[in-house]
């Protein structure tokens, strides 16, 4: 059985602080989750999120700062706009909108982050493979 492919795109600031703190206290993260770190979630454009699905992601989670917390200003706002737009595109592509998740955190919320990541992983696993994947890949899940 192939495990689901989960991608986390993590902002370098508050969410990465949570992630780091979780790692330091040896909190377990979903094993199927791969995380890439970016300076700001605002840097991620719609194309990249779609590309993640193209590369075989079964679920994508954006980990970002709270709106008022962004170190640069427009990050979360861009994140919200992109999630809304990409979700409608996913719908067109026949991919469940729930496969794209957006969560915001403050720097001290490591426990909530770990919970959210597990929830995300469990939900995506329950949904099964991304239907946009080639059939043989899908059936292997």
């Amino acid at each position: 059985m192939k495990r689901p492919n989960l991608l986390g795109i993590c902002c370098n600031w508050s969410p990465w602080t949570c992630l780091n703190a979780a790692g330091r206290t040896n909190l377990e993260l979903p094993p199927d989750l791969r995380i890439i770190r970016v300076m700001c979630i605002g840097r991620i454009n719609q194309a990249l999120i779609l590309k993640a699905f193209e590369y075989g992601a079964d679920g994508v989670i954006l980990l970002e700062c709270r709106d008022e917390d962004c170190r640069y200003g427009p990050g979360p706002e861009v994140g919200h706009a992109n999630v809304t737009l990409v979700r409608s595109l996913l719908d067109l592509l026949g991919i469940d909108q729930q496969r794209l998740v957006e969560r915001s955190f403050e720097a001290h919320e490591k426990d909530r982050m770990v919970t959210e990541l597990w929830n995300f992983a469990e939900r995506i696993e329950a949904m099964g493979a991304n239907p946009a994947k080639p059939r043989q890949e899908r059936e292997a899940v």
């Binding site: 492919n5 890439i36 700001c40 590369y55 994140g79």
Partner: protein
């Protein structure tokens, strides 16, 4: 040891610490004016209120102050002089000439990596006052500070300068072998001195103010015994290198042995001549085995011999000239005082009368002496006590000591007197013998009452009371009234000039008038103590080394002032009184039967408990254990000395008046004050800016134009040859084996040609290693895993001094190309104590994956700053506008001052302002104008206006909005996120747009108009001199082919950094105003058609990262 240096600096002088001072320094250095910052505090942010006060301030201040602190303290124009003070301020040709002194800094701020390994080795780290600390905790550096106070009184009191505090600290920590090594460094005879030293250290011990002095001598003895019980035979290491020059030492007593030891340690070949059959001098001949067991003596003499000292026993030297002729380059006479003084009273030649030294020598060396049943000892010194107790052990039925002194003035140590008394020695005090009587042999000693009386010449003479005479029956007398040198007996007095008591005459350097011949110890000083003789021996050895090599004496006997900063800390009130332990002793009636040792010494637990009583007066005990932790880094120097400096200052800014030597200075011209904290931080900083602005006028000629240092744009199309460097942070990051595994794993990543561990990336030597490897392996991409997060040339809220320093070394000092560096902060993600080796390797592999992907998608960064133009437009007159314009004019700017700007097209309501045109030749006055809009960015603003009904277009590099009417032209700073990024600047003059300043009404509640103008001028000057050349590819690029001019990027940008410009075909295209851009990438993310990209962190790279993550890290990093 450092030589004292005196630095000469030409700069504006800033005195005091705190945030106001930080702001002053920022404005001045960033505007190109050098600053010398002098403060008594160890770090600039430590406030007079104390570090705790920081916690009361808003937490988000941290977002600004960390980068600000780093930007300023590592600025090339700042001469940082913390822990320093101004001594005097006089007049110079261009303002003031200020003299000052900086305290020694025992941990080099520029080298310390903050790894903290030294604290683990410090025996006092767990004490209430750890000597090595980080402070204040909020400071954005990890560097440590060493608290070393005045040298401990015990150490100063010791003639040898033995560091008692250090060996007590180590003993208290149970580190007995290290403690003993500390003793041995300054005293090669610890077991001997641990028994017979008269311990002047204990006399000076500060603990006696509370209860009793620490039993320092007993601890020393314990340390030597502990080693002996463990079966270790001590031996000094032979010198690593032999030097030419043989030295003869005459006499193997404490002075001779010590001199021989230290001369040998310095590499000289030493031969000791001893006339007695065994070595040790008075240690052996004069001190009994019940006080000093022969075993201890033999072991410690052997330890010295083992290092290469030759001792020729049974050899009496009769001519120093013969020794010199034999090839010795120098001779040290340390023959001691072996001849007894005589009483010179009738009957002194009767059989049964012995002299003390010869008596003890006979007992101790030959075992030949005998005593009578009734033995009388004349004299009450330590030798007399030895003689009396020896007589008891030889079988005397009664032993009586006759002394002139009264009980309280006895020259013998009270402890010796007590022990003699316990053993049954009787004392007849206040009496002196006047005759010995007997027919064929001694029968009685006739005494009379006597006392010492000072003689007018300063000496003491005996006054006998002949009326009060009595006699003591005696068949044996030991005369122990003193000794003298016996140079005459061996004929040496023919060559060496002698003085009173037959002593060798020497100068202050222990040299006799005969070239190459030195004398030390009792032979030169008269009878003294073991430790004094040893000290003289070592000092003479130093003189001999100076004589032979011309080098400065290498031996250190510190005074209280030699090292350290400040006095001893107060004795803590929480201290509990606790008496010192009595060392166990054998029972008097048992011990007086034999020659075995009387004292038994402390046990390990007792010694540790006793060592803990030490108050550690100097805070740092200078055991130098920490040096081992810092061997690779070399940041610790216990011997660093104070630094003198001279500052030629056109102006002085005082942030803390208490740090001035003379408050009168405040009243002088060109001395500006930063206001004290009144309401909040903004007050102080605003006031700091105002002071900086005023000082800029006086210091304008010191301003150094920022020279553009643009480097060529790196061509990154070359072959990818990756070098991987992993900073071990002085071996504290994780276990060596785990890091070696990470290194080896990285070595197998595709494209990696070199993989290496570094002791430190922020250390100059670490940076040198990287540069060297880059050259040797022709590395074209570097992946540096350390605590450094980014290779860029600015500091963010995460940065610290070490990270800043690493980049300065790599990119500024060594000139390595930034564009070719991928840096990854591994340190903060690996918490070694909690992770197993496997976990460390897994986690590092996980984190490094993206770095190796990134190494393939690097984009060139152009480096450097550029100076922008000096055209300033000030919109708004009044006192602020005029003050600002005048200030800028005096600094060399050209200013257009619009007195009455309006935003609307309504008819002008205000009366034309009366303008004082006498001052300022570069100010263009505009009475009133209607401002339409302001476009552009710093260095290239265009102001559209109407003046006198005519349309005007003014160009300006920098814009100041002073009049309330024009405030709406500034960007709104309340947008989300902006507060966090720029808050402290927003508090006064900055807008979210670089190069555009404004004065808010609330600013005037804090400072008066004139000061506000000066402060505004300071901001303008700063921007003008140090504008980032923001063309470093962190700003987005627009692909005009893809851009369809939708304007979403314009809407999302809070910084006005993106605007739509009409293209050739009439379509609008986005364009980036790079001075306004902060490089967040929000517009790139918002663009629906991927028309925007940021070359340094490109869409292509992000896609590669996603692809790599989805492929489980297999796409790029598979082993080649």
């Amino acid at each position: 040891m450092n030589t004292r240096e005196r630095d000469s600096i030409e700069a504006v002088l800033l005195v005091g610490s705190g945030y106001g001072a930080l702001k002053v320094a920022e404005d001045l250095v960033q505007s190109g004016i050098p600053v010398a910052w002098v403060t008594a505090r160890p770090h600039y942010l430590e406030l007079p209120l104390g570090a705790e006060a920081l916690a009361d301030w808003p937490a988000d201040l941290d977002y600004q102050f960390r980068p600000l602190y780093l930007r300023v303290t590592r600025h090339p124009l700042l001469t940082a002089l913390p822990q320093a003070r101004i001594l005097s301020a006089g007049n110079g040709t261009n303002g003031f000439v200020v003299e000052g002194e900086q305290d020694p800094r025992y941990i080099d701020y520029d080298l310390c990596t903050g790894c903290g390994k030294c604290t683990e080795l410090c025996p006092l780290n767990d004490s209430e006052r750890p000597p090595i600390t980080r402070r204040p905790a909020q400071c954005p550096t990890r560097a440590l500070v060493l608290d070393k106070r005045a040298t401990g009184a015990c150490r100063v009191a010791c003639p040898l300068g033995v560091n008692a505090q250090a060996y007590l600290a180590l003993t208290a920590a149970g580190r007995f072998d290290e403690a003993l090594a500390v003793v041995r460094d300054a005293n090669p005879l610890p077991g001997i001195c641990g028994r017979v030293c008269h311990h002047p250290c204990e006399t000076e011990c500060r603990r006696a103010e509370v209860d009793e002095a620490v039993a320092i001598r007993d601890i020393k003895r314990f340390l030597a015994d502990f080693e002996a019980h463990a079966g270790v035979v001590p031996s000094f290491m032979p010198p690593a290198q032999r030097r030419t020059g043989r030295v003869a030492v005459i006499g193997s007593g404490p002075a001779g042995l010590t001199a021989a030891h230290y001369l040998n340690r310095q590499g000289f070949q030493v031969t000791v001549f001893e006339s007695l059959p065994q070595a040790g001098g008075m240690l052996r001949a004069g001190i009994n085995s019940f006080r000093l067991p022969r075993r201890v003596l033999d072991i410690e003499i052997r330890a010295i011999e083992n290092a290469g000292v030759t001792i020729q026993t049974g050899t009496t030297v009769t001519s120093v000239q013969a020794l010199l002729a034999e090839g010795f380059s120098a001779v040290l006479l340390a023959a001691g005082t072996q001849a007894d003084l005589q009483l010179g009273i009738p009957g002194e030649d009767l059989p049964g009368i012995n002299a003390c030294v010869s008596f003890l020598r006979a007992v101790n060396l030959y075992g030949t002496a005998a005593v009578g049943a009734k033995t009388v000892v004349i004299g009450a010194g330590n030798s007399a006590m030895d003689a009396a107790r020896t007589a008891l052990r030889l079988g005397a039925a009664s032993v009586t000591v006759v002394g002139i002194e009264q009980e309280s003035q006895l020259p013998a140590h009270p402890r010796e007197v007590r022990e003699a008394r316990e053993e049954g020695v009787a004392f007849v005090l206040g009496a002196a013998p006047v005759a010995f009587e007997g027919t064929s042999a001694l029968e009685r000693v006739v005494c009379c009452k006597a006392r010492w009386q000072p003689h007018p010449d300063g000496s003491q003479e005996i006054v006998h009371d002949r009326e009060d005479t009595f006699s003591l029956d005696a068949d044996c007398v030991i005369v122990a009234i003193g000794q003298r040198a016996q140079l005459k007996e061996c004929g040496l007095d023919q060559e060496i000039e002698t003085g009173p008591g037959g002593r060798a005459l020497i100068d202050t350097c222990y040299a006799t008038p005969v070239a190459g011949v030195f004398a030390a110890g009792d032979v030169a000083s008269g009878p003294s103590t073991v430790v004094e003789a040893m000290a003289a021996g070592r000092a003479a050895a130093g003189s001999i080394i100076e004589y032979l090599t011309g080098e400065v004496c290498p031996f250190d006997t510190p005074t209280r002032e030699t090292r350290g900063v400040g006095d001893y800390p107060d004795i803590p009130e929480s201290l509990l009184r606790r008496r010192r332990p009595d060392a166990p002793q054998r029972l008097p009636r048992v011990r007086c039967r034999d020659f075995d040792e009387v004292d038994m010494g402390l046990g390990a637990d007792e010694a540790v408990a006793e060592a803990r009583r030490c108050l550690q007066c100097s805070v740092c005990c200078e055991c130098r254990a920490c040096e081992a932790a810092c061997e690779q880094i070399g940041a610790i120097n216990h011997f660093s000395s104070a630094r003198q400096f001279t500052i030629a200052a056109p102006a002085i800014i005082v942030a803390d008046a208490l740090e001035l030597p003379d408050a009168g200075l405040l009243d002088r011209d060109q001395v500006f004050r930063v206001a004290d904290l009144k309401h909040d931080l903004t007050d102080v900083m605003l006031s700091g800016s105002a002071a900086a602005g005023r000082a800029m006028v006086a210091a304008a000629k010191l301003r150094r134009a920022a020279v553009p240092r643009e480097t060529d744009v790196e061509d990154l199309s070359d072959e990818v040859r990756i070098g991987f460097f992993l900073c071990t942070c002085n071996d504290t990051l994780a276990s060596r084996s785990a890091l070696e595994r990470v290194r080896d794993l990285a070595g197998h990543v595709r494209g990696v040609v070199h993989s290496q561990l570094l002791m430190s990336a922020c250390h100059p030597a670490g940076a040198d290693l990287i540069a060297e490897a880059v050259g040797r392996h022709t590395i074209t991409r570097v992946v540096l895993a350390s605590c450094v997060c980014c290779p860029l040339e600015f500091q963010c809220i995460s940065c610290n001094d070490q990270r800043t320093r690493a980049r300065l070394h790599l990119f500024e000092r060594l000139g390595l190309p930034r564009s070719r560096f991928e840096t990854i902060n591994l340190r903060d993600s690996l918490l070694a104590e909690r992770l197993s080796d496997d976990e460390v390797v897994d986690k590092a592999r996980d984190l490094l994956r993206a770095s190796f992907v990134r190494a393939r998608y690097m984009a060139p960064l152009t480096q450097g700053r550029t100076e922008i133009g000096k055209q300033v437009i000030v919109l708004g007159g009044g006192d602020i506008g005029r003050s600002c314009a005048l200030n800028l004019d005096l600094q060399g700017f050209s200013v257009r001052l619009v007195h009455n700007p309006q935003l609307t097209t309504d008819p002008l309501r205000r009366q034309p302002h009366q303008v004082d045109t006498s001052a300022g030749n570069n100010i263009t006055h505009v009475e009133s104008a209607i401002i339409r809009d302001i476009r552009g960015q710093m260095g290239d603003f265009t102001i559209h206006a109407r003046q006198d009904g005519a349309a005007r277009r003014w160009r300006a590099d920098i814009v100041c909005l002073v009049d309330e009417a024009v405030l709406p032209l500034a960007l709104n700073e309340d947008a989300p996120g902006l507060k966090k990024l720029y808050r402290y600047d927003f508090a006064f003059f900055h807008t979210p747009q670089a190069g555009m300043f404004r004065v808010l009404p609330r600013t005037l509640e804090r400072v008066q108009e004139f000061e506000a103008g000066a402060a505004l001028a300071a901001q303008v000057a700063r921007s003008a001199a140090e504008a980032f050349l923001k063309d470093h590819l962190l700003s987005p690029r627009v692909d005009p082919e893809r851009c369809r001019g939708c304007g979403r990027c314009v809407d999302i940008c809070p910084f006005n950094a993106i605007q739509l410009v009409p293209g050739l075909d009439g379509l609008y295209t986005a364009e980036v105003a790079r001075h306004n851009c902060v490089g967040c990438g929000g517009c790139v993310g918002r663009c629906p058609v991927t028309a925007l990209d940021m070359p340094y962190f490109s869409n292509q790279l992000l896609e590669a990262l996603v692809a790599d993550a989805m492929a489980g890290g297999k796409t790029y990093n598979e082993a080649s």
